[in-house]
């Protein structure tokens, strides 16, 4: 790969993604979003959390997946197996779990107190003799396909998934396997709603071109300098529908006083000046494939809606959950190794606050972008070489919709 400073023409974008402007209609159309719901979100594997959130038998989480019109109940059974069910009672459709997390010995519908075992089987029906030939064995909770990769729980809402999770994650799953996700076992979680199409929201996080501009006051100085003023990517890899890139870090960055203090206490996520010295020791070899000394973070996008930003100090995940064609719930988690001292916890907390302020910049910016896109004033958007992941996402979505439309045609 040509080094960042030496590039005078595009080098990251493969020819099959094209070079032309991209239609803006997919980023504002309710009809297009309906097709995405059917042919993408209802078909592919979607990450809903971490296995260690439900470490003990009976631990459960409920994940609202509005884009699939589903409420998913994910629970660890007494046999320690993690299962997912539609959070829907067989009797009259009420939700059997109303809390979004907890520990249960069974699930009981509040409406008429039907009870379900942790493995989904229907246990008790009050006044059962008044039903007409009720087949209790057929009235368990409806299962959802579930699989786990590196501790991440994925669901698939298709009747029969087209691929296993491993096949779906393909080369990206292999590239990231072995990153010490489990070591970074504590996290702070943030959430908010973008008034934007899910792709507009995702796009705000999958390029570095904006970092020196929009984030001038926050993280800009850590990821840009005169050597790389426009936040060019070190590398960009495409794995089927997924993508992975190495983010350049400014090693001449002069931290502000509290950043400096936090660095010295516990170098926070995404800004380690000494990263190159240790980058190749504990990490899978595919991370920082160019072995660039300015490598700071590996950005990974698992299609359609999960980001992992991996660094030496921990990792950040972002999930983007479409609520409508122009509304998206954003959930971020910043994962660290558990702090051992007050000063470490301070450093991590400061990192969380600084990241939150950065994400506020992104959130406000995303809403403004959507307003402009939705106006229809610009029928096309323009993606440059370092926005290759945006172009790739557009192409992948188009491909899924094309294939989905073909598959949906009557034979």
């Amino acid at each position: 790969m040509t080094s960042i400073a030496d590039r005078v023409t595009p080098v990251l974008t493969p020819p099959e993604l094209g070079r032309g402007p991209i239609p803006s209609e997919p980023y504002r159309s309710a009809a297009y979003f309906e097709r995405e719901r059917n042919h993408i979100f209802n078909q592919v594997w979607l990450c809903v959390g971490r296995e260690d959130e439900i470490a003990a038998p009976g631990d459960f989480i409920v994940k609202e997946v509005e884009v699939c019109r589903a409420s998913a109940l994910i629970v660890r059974g007494n046999d320690r197996i993690v299962r997912a069910f539609h959070n829907v009672c067989a009797h009259r459709g009420n939700k059997v779990a109303w809390a979004n997390r907890g520990t249960a010995q069974q699930f009981m519908c509040k409406y008429h107190r039907w009870t379900y075992q942790l493995d989904g089987r229907l246990r008790g029906v009050p006044d059962a003799g008044m039903f007409f030939d009720l087949d209790k064995a057929a009235c368990g909770l409806s299962p959802i396909h579930l699989d786990i990769w590196e501790g991440f729980i994925f669901l698939n809402f298709a009747a029969t998934p087209a691929q296993t999770l491993r096949d779906y994650l393909c080369g990206l799953g292999r590239k990231l396997a072995g990153y010490p996700f489990a070591k970074f076992s504590t996290n702070a979680a943030m959430t908010g709603v973008f008034h934007a199409n899910w792709k507009v929201a995702v796009d705000a996080f999958q390029e570095g071109y904006h970092v020196g501009a929009l984030h001038e006051r926050t993280i800009g100085p850590q990821f840009t300098s005169q050597r790389n003023p426009f936040g060019r990517l070190i590398s960009a890899e495409l794995f089927g529908p997924h993508r992975s890139g190495s983010i350049w870090g400014n090693r001449e960055f002069e931290p502000r006083p509290t950043e400096l203090r936090a660095f010295s206490y516990n170098t926070p996520i995404g800004s380690d000046k000494a990263i190159a010295e240790v980058a190749n020791e504990a990490f899978p070899s595919g991370i920082n494939p160019e072995k660039d000394p300015n490598w700071a973070v590996e950005m990974n996008i698992i299609f359609p809606n999960l980001f992992t930003f991996l660094s030496k100090q921990g990792y950040i995940t972002h999930s983007f959950w479409p609520l409508a064609h122009d509304r998206t719930r954003w959930e971020a988690r910043m994962h660290f190794a558990p702090a051992l001292s007050a000063r470490q916890l301070f450093a991590q907390q400061f990192s969380v606050c600084q990241a939150r302020d950065t994400f506020i910049e992104d959130g406000v910016n995303v809403d403004r972008s959507q307003e402009g896109i939705s106006s229809g004033a610009k029928p096309y958007l323009h993606f440059q070489d370092n926005e290759v992941f945006l172009r790739h996402q557009y192409c992948v979505v188009e491909e899924y919709l094309r294939k989905g439309a073909v598959a949906a045609q009557p034979a």
Partner: protein, 118 residues
């Protein structure tokens, strides 16, 4: 979550008045204080804390985070509040994020470490 009365360890009792504002247990609550105060108020807190931080962490670091007594926990939260103030002073030269409204609708929904009883 009811916040307990502020009672910092005696060595840091001179910071009690600041802690009434800045030592809330929740990230959102500390962030809120930063948003509703003037830059001058934020700076007064920031400058009062700066010369004390080394002493605060020397005091707190030997203690087990899992069993921090209430006064020490409040002192730790006060340093978190300092982090909020530092962002205003060092990054934005304004209380809030540049060109962003408040409330902005973004929330910390799980803290890095949850302490019992706030």
């Amino acid at each position: 979550m009811t916040q307990e009365p502020i009672r910092l360890p005696p060595e840091f009792a001179d910071l009690n008045a600041f802690a009434e504002v800045w030592a809330a247990p929740a990230s959102d609550a500390r962030h809120h204080q930063r948003q509703i105060r003037s830059l001058a108020e934020i700076r007064a807190f920031y400058e009062a804390m700066l010369p004390r931080l080394d002493a605060i962490f020397r005091y707190l670091d030997p203690l087990d985070l899992a069993t921090l007594p209430v006064p020490e926990r409040q002192l730790l939260y006060l340093t978190f509040g300092f982090g909020e103030a530092a962002l205003s002073i060092e990054l934005f030269n304004a209380p809030g994020v540049t060109d962003s409204p408040y409330p902005h609708g973004f929330h910390v929904v799980r803290e890095l470490r949850e302490f019992k009883n706030g």
